[in-house]
């Protein structure tokens, strides 16, 4: 097989609970004082077993988007996506034009909840007053006839908004593998460039499940932390007292470019997106295998794909959700993969600050890895007071570590057993490899 095309990360956009842009989010993540969570304000959650979440606080202050027609069918998650994608495109400093629009792709990881609660409520009130849907009542119910509500509900609505906004006309796809969605979207984008069917891809993830039905799903499974009185401490990955994740929302976007094209136009390059590994646990729908089987293959595949050795890996941005089982099984996987070298890999979970952004998590954490590589800074894990002995890895806590990163990895492990690992390489190292003919 011919040599793989290399892929550069040249643009980043972030809208997270930690901040509505890259600089604010990154500063708060590096500081890692506490989780950006609090009592839920988006709706009255006072009756729920978990009443806290990490919300995007300045949602109303996101920059105005000058496309009112499209905005009519943009949901909260779509607005987050548009804001983060706008940042990433501006940061990359390049847009599709009529000559190369079909050489641009767009791959997104989109959340599973697409209908606004007000609409669910309106349908229930009028068409299911006693709990059972009476279909005939939909026929002249305004909300059930509202084309904009229908548009918003479609799984491709987010992709459509982005394609149209930037005039992208090549490969377009939407993926959803629960909490692995963002990572798998970016992995797919990497492959699309390597295949030679696109030169640039806008890729990322967006999600907001902070709604009555969205939160319900996690409360029913007892997957979210019930620490309602201490929201800032509720997300504490790897801590012995952890008891579930904190639901977050937001979006992360990257602009990926063919390496040579990025170098030729003098683009600033955060990092090389050097590899992706992808595996299915095929074990149970929510449980991860205690041995780390599944994530082990994903990490090994990512390193092999990136042509990286165990010794190359400086930093791992863990999936680290702060659930009992995930953190334990993920740490078992790290030890299985790195063996004697496991303690030489610095590990942190930035979900300790941002909460768990579900379909956006992998994309936001990919952006964080790119920033970590650029700055030579590995962010700490907030809220870690007492390391779980079953999480026997080198967890960064307290203050960020300054160290040049050769290779960083980012894990995203989803309900349903999809595991994704992305590998990022320092751009100077990539430039050397390229110069040496690799």
């Amino acid at each position: 097989m011919s040599k793989k095309r290399r892929v550069a990360i040249t643009g980043i956009g972030l809208v997270t609970p930690a901040g509505c842009d890259v600089a604010t989010t990154w500063a708060r993540i590096k500081e890692a004082k506490s989780c950006a969570a609090g009592p839920i304000t988006i709706f009255d959650a006072s009756g729920f077993s978990t009443r806290i979440a990490a919300e995007v606080k300045e949602f109303d202050q996101l920059p105005q988007i000058d496309d009112l027609k499209s905005l009519k069918y943009a949901s909260r998650a779509h607005r987050l996506a548009l804001a983060a994608a706008d940042q990433a495109m501006a940061d990359a400093g390049i847009r599709p034009d009529e000559n190369d629009a079909d050489r641009w792709g767009c791959v997104v990881g989109a959340g599973m909840m697409t209908v606004d609660h007000t609409e669910i409520e309106a349908v229930q009130k009028a068409a299911a007053p006693e709990g059972d849907l009476i279909p005939d009542r939909l026929l002249d119910l305004p909300v059930a006839n509202d084309v904009m509500a229908f548009s918003r509900s479609l799984s491709t609505a987010g992709l459509s908004l982005l394609l149209k906004r930037y005039g992208i006309r090549g490969y377009g796809s939407t993926v959803h593998t629960a909490c692995a969605s963002g990572g798998q979207a970016i992995g797919t984008a990497l492959r699309v460039i390597r295949r030679g069917i696109a030169d640039r891809v806008l890729t990322g993830g967006f999600d907001s499940m902070i709604s009555p039905v969205g939160l319900s799903g996690f409360c029913l499974l007892s997957a979210v932390s019930p620490d309602n009185d201490t929201p800032e401490r509720a997300s504490r990955p790897f801590d012995a007292t952890r008891n579930g994740f904190v639901l977050g929302e937001g979006a992360g976007f990257l602009v990926l470019e063919d390496w040579d094209a990025a170098v030729a136009r003098g683009a600033k390059i955060y990092a090389e997106l050097a590899g992706e590994g992808n595996s299915l646990s095929a074990y149970r729908i929510t449980d991860s295998h205690p041995s780390g089987d599944g994530p082990i293959q994903a990490m090994r595949r990512a390193m092999a794909d990136a042509d990286a050795t165990l010794a190359d890996v400086t930093y791992l941005n863990a999936h680290g959700t702060s659930t009992l089982m995930n953190d334990r099984s993920e740490c078992a996987a790290v030890n299985a993969v790195f063996g004697d070298r496991a303690k030489e890999v610095a590990v942190s979970s930035t979900k300790s600050v941002t909460g768990h952004l579900i379909a956006a998590a992998g994309a936001v954490e990919a952006a964080i890895c790119a920033l970590a590589v650029r700055d030579g800074i590995m962010p700490p894990t907030a809220n870690l007071q007492q390391l779980d002995p079953d999480c026997d890895v080198d967890v960064i806590h307290g203050v960020a570590r300054q160290k040049r990163i050769k290779v960083a990895l980012s894990n995203s492990l989803g309900f349903g057993g999809s595991n994704n690992c992305l590998a990022f390489r320092h751009p100077a190292d990539t430039a050397e490899l390229v110069a040496a003919g690799h």
């Binding site: 229908f150 796809s173 993926v175 595996s279 299915l280 309900f415």
Partner: protein, 423 residues
């Protein structure tokens, strides 16, 4: 690059529970479109659909316990997957291996799923709780665990089929779940084939599934003007919309070396595929078929063949005026006057949405292997703007063993796949 072969196919729709029966139904001119039975739709302006007949979830799954963890759409996906995997002999081969070889085999076997599923139906499970709580969200929160199935979220995951097919058939390699509406299933084939080309796996199970026949979806689509009130007539002058179908399709793809090593029967070869967007909005379709034209040309290039090599085309042919006309335009642009026989299956099985493309690939492969291009049985007179399209209401013979299948969806997305039938 090793050749990629197909060693198993599966399909289910209103027309039948396997590809052979579905092709028989197409050849006999039988349509599965019928009045909706899943709710009383007598007052509905458009009240027909192509529902799967003799539906028994537990039986289709072959595992009644699994029924509480999945939805109707998932049942179709898991069923089509089991059917294609049985034909390919993947399970029996794995079971014949020793422990060490099993690990390698499962790590080298992946799964890509194109998933539809309901944006609305999942919320219906909350209606009893909402009726109980009235306007009070605090009450909603308090009564939640008393009134909603604790497994609700797991039953609602779009990636359920990937998870359960993976567990049942021990597929542990590269995987993906594509939720790109109509093109999802076909993208599952294209992405799966790339995983083989890129040497990330030796075997890939690609599945697409959907079950969109439910009141809210039908009402919205009717209001957008997409639904026909009496019949789905691809490319006919009387065409006035599409009709909902449901079901799934599946292909087992593997490297030629893997199939040879297992002694598996080879049904066809995957030649290439492509995907492109028009990017002009959610419901916008360019009249000149630009996105589809680029997609077909990119697929031919990917396959390394010429337009003149294609012997049979399964068009998207969804029966809406805009889509049919622009599709005809694209086909005329690419094939000119040397167009091979073109058909569409939606007149019989309705529109399977996320499963549409992969269903057409599985059924199309069955047809071309039998040497038939099933006619569009209800075609009477070609629409004016579809003039020049090589369609017929009669069964014809393919011009070669190369099959092209097209698929188009909301957001101006287009996908195409090229296969060679092997006997």
């Amino acid at each position: 690059m090793s050749r990629i072969v197909i060693t198993g196919i599966g399909a289910i729709s209103g027309s039948g529970h396997n590809p052979a029966t579905i092709v028989d139904e197409l050849l006999a001119g039988h349509s599965a479109l019928a009045p909706i039975e899943s709710w009383d739709a007598t007052n509905w302006p458009a009240a027909i659909a192509a529902a799967v007949k003799d539906y028994n979830g537990g039986k289709l799954l072959g595992d009644r316990k699994l029924l509480k963890l999945v939805r109707r759409s998932d049942v179709f996906g898991i069923y089509a997957g089991a059917q294609a995997i049985a034909q390919s002999g993947l399970d029996s081969y794995r079971e014949s291996l020793d422990e060490a070889a099993v690990i390698d085999f499962t790590d080298q076997t992946g799964c890509y799923v194109g998933s539809g599923g309901g944006a609305f139906e999942v919320n219906y499970d909350f209606f009893p709780l909402m009726a109980e709580a009235g306007d009070s969200l605090p009450q909603f929160g308090k009564e939640l665990s008393n009134m909603v199935n604790p497994m609700w979220l797991l039953r609602s995951l779009p990636n359920n089929v990937l998870c359960h097919v993976g567990i049942r058939h021990q597929l542990k390699g590269p995987n993906g779940c594509i939720t790109n509406h109509v093109t999802s299933g076909m993208l599952a084939i294209i992405e799966g084939a790339w995983a083989l080309r890129e040497n990330d796996a030796q075997r890939i199970v690609s599945i697409g599934h959907d079950a969109p026949i439910e009141p809210q979806s039908l009402n919205y689509m009717d209001k957008v003007g997409l639904i026909a009130n009496d019949d789905l007539r691809p490319f006919d002058t009387e065409h006035n919309g599409c009709v909902l179908g449901e079901g799934a399709g599946c292909l087992v793809l593997e490297t030629e070396a893997s199939a040879a090593q297992r002694g598996a029967q080879v049904l066809g070869e995957y030649l290439g595929g492509a995907d492109a967007s028009e990017g002009e909005g959610l419901f916008a379709v360019r009249a000149d078929g630009d996105g589809l034209t680029r997609t077909i040309r990119a697929a031919l290039k990917d396959a390394g063949i010429q337009a003149s090599d294609v012997g049979m085309i399964v068009a998207h042919g969804n029966g809406t005026i805009q889509s049919d006309a622009s599709e005809a335009h694209a086909l005329k642009t690419v094939f000119g006057s040397n167009m091979p026989p073109v058909t569409s299956f939606k007149w019989a099985s309705g529109h399977l949405f996320a499963a549409a493309g992969i269903f057409d690939v599985a059924v199309g492969l069955e047809a071309i292997r039998r040497g038939v291009v099933p006619g569009i049985a209800n075609l009477q007179k070609l629409a004016n703007d579809c003039e020049g399209l090589n369609v017929s209401n009669q069964t014809r013979a393919p011009q070669s063993d190369v099959l092209l299948v097209l698929c188009r969806g909301f957001a101006g997305t287009n996908a195409a796949v090229l296969l060679r039938a092997l006997k």
